[in-house]
């Protein structure tokens, strides 16, 4: 009897201590009905050509940011547990993996997808499974232009701002251009990128003529013939959407041949690997960003989250969070956290998926990239500013810095809600507000 009473006392003491102390790292009281954890499936490239420049930096950023959020109390006082899976593989396999994540691993939501092909394949399955899914990085503008989804959101801008921003930047720094050329990878991303840029610049300056449209194979690595043709035809501007290894190979091969001195080369995404290029970078390239995702934009002095992101990421990985995927995955996490906490406040309990969707539609939330608004795609698609600048090696950074930076406001580069980007361009950008 004495033993039993002693153990009962011990249990009471342990329970009391547990209640007083609370779970480790939890700083916020969880609402009624809260689960022990929020499981987020994170899908990003862990292998293949897109892993180095995009997938793994996004994974690194997600892990760092989730750790930070958990330290601050997770989502509404509930710890976030990530389940990271590889995005590599054919689209049908990616869709199967998505199903497994939702049905077998029973994640609460999925944040994923860098490839535009995957972003167009997954939403239909998300709707079927009624699974909250945040597309975090893929570029295609077609996701919410061709369909309307309830369970699918994208918390980063689509590629429309890349091409329109590039056209506006080129004309602001070189207004007298007469000829343009394109060098874009021969798949959907390359064709969409060129289509938007070409339409935008021809609408803004109708006398521009196209002298070359070159379509190298993705990850071709060899640009000898393409560079020769561009040198022979001498366009005023060369637009390219090559990325990762191709971006580096193109710079390595074009720089000694003087292509960047001959023509203004404009790259519509950050190309990735800017930091790794170091002193091998080329000066005079117009480098664009799908959103304000540069080390000084937004200015960390005026954006605490940006400061925390850069400092924390550098301390942990000894690198800058350079490629846009790093910023975009943090935007998704911030959007999810903001929506859950808004829904908790409204419902007074742990929210269901419908409550979170309601809170996320047309929402605004703070991120290291500034305030993000889900303003188009019926409140499911984010808009961002487009940022372009011209590269110049910065000895203090040890890689290319940006000069002549121009930030194009949201309404200058994004179509209004319900308008397709190509239609907006062809109509002459009605309602655009540019400086």
């Amino acid at each position: 009897m004495r033993d039993r009473s002693l153990s009962r006392w011990l249990v009471h003491v342990v329970v009391l201590l547990a209640i007083v102390a609370g779970p480790p790292g939890r700083a916020v009281a969880a609402p009624a009905g809260a689960p022990p954890q929020v499981t987020i499936g994170i899908v990003t490239f862990l292998s293949g050509a897109a892993s180095g420049p995009f997938g793994l930096p996004a994974k690194a950023a997600a892990e760092f940011w989730i750790e930070k959020l958990n330290h601050e109390g997770g989502i509404g006082g509930v710890k976030i547990v990530p389940v990271v899976i590889d995005e590599a593989g054919p689209t049908d396999q990616v869709v199967t993996n998505y199903r497994r994540l939702v049905t077998d691993q029973k994640v609460d939501l999925v944040i994923g997808y860098i490839s535009s092909a995957n972003c167009t394949a997954v939403p239909a399955v998300a709707e079927e499974l009624k699974a909250l899914t945040i597309l975090f990085d893929c570029g295609t503008n077609r996701v919410f232009e061709n369909a309307q989804y309830r369970y699918v959101f994208r918390t980063a801008a689509h590629t429309g701002i890349d091409g329109i921003g590039a056209a506006r930047y080129v004309l602001s720094v070189k207004p007298g251009i007469k000829t343009i050329a394109g060098l874009n990878p021969d798949y959907a991303w390359g064709h969409d990128s060129w289509d938007i840029f070409e339409k935008a610049i021809r609408k803004l300056k109708p006398d521009v003529t196209v002298v070359d449209t070159l379509w190298p194979k993705l990850m071709q690595g060899q640009f000898t013939s393409e560079i020769s043709k561009l040198q022979a035809d001498k366009p005023d501007v060369i637009f390219t959407s090559v990325w990762g290894g191709d971006f580096v190979s193109f710079i390595e091969q074009a720089k000694p041949r003087g292509l960047f001195a001959q023509s203004l080369v404009v790259i519509n995404n950050d190309g990735a690997n800017v930091e790794e290029l170091g002193h091998d970078t080329a000066d005079g390239i117009a480098l664009g960003f799908r959103g304000p995702h540069w080390i000084s934009i937004p200015n960390p002095a005026g954006n605490q989250l940006q400061q925390q992101f850069i400092d924390g990421y550098r301390a942990r990985y000894k690198k800058y969070p350079m490629p846009h995927g790093s910023y975009h995955v943090v935007q998704a996490l911030q959007g999810v956290k903001a929506a859950y906490e808004k829904a908790i406040k409204a419902a007074g309990r742990w929210p269901g998926v419908d409550d979170v969707i309601k809170a996320l539609e047309y929402s605004e939330f703070d991120t290291p990239s500034g305030r993000i608004r889900l303003a188009i795609g019926h409140g499911h698609q984010a808009v961002e500013e487009a940022v372009y600048g011209t590269t110049k090696f910065d000895p203090r950074l040890g890689f290319a810095g940006l000069g002549g930076v121009k930030v194009f406001p949201v309404k200058c580069v994004n179509p209004p809600d319900g308008v397709k980007v190509v239609d907006w361009i062809e109509q002459g950008f009605p309602g655009a507000e540019c400086p």
């Binding site: 292998s47 293949g48 050509a49 892993s51 180095g52 420049p53 793994l56 021969d186 070359d212 449209t213 070159l214 379509w215 190298p216 194979k217 990850m219 071709q220 690595g221 060899q222 000898t224 013939s225 393409e226 020769s228 043709k229 040198q231 022979a232 001498k234 990762g244 290894g245 191709d246 971006f247 580096v248 190979s249 390595e252 091969q253 720089k255 000694p256 041949r257 003087g258 690997n273 790794e276 290029l277 170091g278 091998d280």
Partner: protein, 298 residues
């Protein structure tokens, strides 16, 4: 510069690179009858090793021109280390097996080496661009060519000549030819067939690594380059004739010139023309341009 000269210069430059990356594949098939899927990985290990060692030389303050012999040394090192290891450790066990088994085995080696490279070099790109620009440029009618392109052509010609001399002008080459024709009879006549196979595969591995090492200054050495190169290497090998190194050279030249022509006149079809040529040749001469009986003589 007129378009024809552009096509010739670009075509030869691309063909040189194609020959370097495909010669080892052709040679290995010629001698060992193995279609080596891991050829691309040997190319990638050559690129990583070349970039790492050349980077060390360039950062050490030594004469930057030393980077070129270092690239060559890196290729020899990779071939000497991985060639015997793969041949003796794995391939030797499946020579008598069905071709599917060898394909699966080399595919497994490809996957293992892919992950091995990530473990050793990580996933961040290795960039060593200096050797590409170091030799200077040649301006020809408004188009500038780096002299490195001509160096690459020289390396490809030397590699081809070296193969020809070894096979056709040395005793060792005669032994290889004998093994190609009949392994059992060669063994019965006292030829050390396992040794010939090891040396031949090591040579093929060196050629793959040579292609990788001399490509490293032109590209970003990053995970995934193995798979990208193997497809083109197969196309060239099939066009020239499996196992025929001379045919491989002609195949590389055809593909290089055809692609350079397409980029000048029909850039949207630059990839299509390569595989269209391969398809036509497979339909008309399934053994490749120089395949058939000649294949076995390499």
């Amino acid at each position: 510069m007129d378009t024809l000269t552009l096509i010739l210069l670009d075509g030869i430059a691309f063909a040189s690179w194609l020959f370097l990356v495909s010669a080892g594949l052709t040679f290995a098939y010629g001698v060992l009858r193995i279609l080596n899927i891991a050829h691309g990985s040997l190319y990638a290990v050559g690129a990583y090793t070349g970039a790492t060692l050349a980077g060390l030389v360039l950062h050490s303050g030594a004469n930057p021109l030393l980077a070129y012999p270092v690239l060559l040394g890196a290729a020899l090192l990779v071939g000497l280390l991985l060639g015997p290891l793969l041949e003796r450790g794995f391939l030797r066990r499946v020579y008598d097996q069905d071709e599917v088994i060898t394909l699966l085995l080399t595919f497994a080696i490809f996957l293992i080496l892919e992950d091995g490279m990530k473990l050793v070099w990580g996933v961040s790109p290795i960039i060593v661009a200096e050797p590409y620009a170091l030799l200077g440029q040649l301006a020809l009618g408004g188009v500038t060519y780096p002299l490195y392109s001509f160096l690459l052509t020289g390396v490809a010609i030397l590699a081809g000549l070296a193969l020809w001399v070894v096979i056709d002008r040395t005793r060792f080459g005669k032994l290889i030819t004998s093994v190609i024709h009949d392994r059992e009879i060669s063994a019965a006549l006292g030829v050390n067939v396992p040794r010939i196979c090891t040396v031949a595969f090591t040579g093929a591995a060196m050629l793959a690594a040579l292609g990788g090492a001399f490509t490293a200054p032109m590209v970003s050495v990053t995970p995934g380059i193995s798979a990208d190169v193997i497809v083109l290497a197969f196309a060239v090998t099939v066009i020239g004739g499996l196992g025929n190194v001379g045919g491989g050279a002609i195949g590389a030249l055809l593909v290089g010139l055809l692609r350079a022509t397409a980029i000048q006149f029909l850039p949207a079809l630059d990839l299509f023309v390569v595989y269209a040529l391969m398809t036509v040749i497979l339909l008309v001469r399934p053994e490749g341009l120089f395949g058939g009986v000649e294949v076995r003589r390499i």
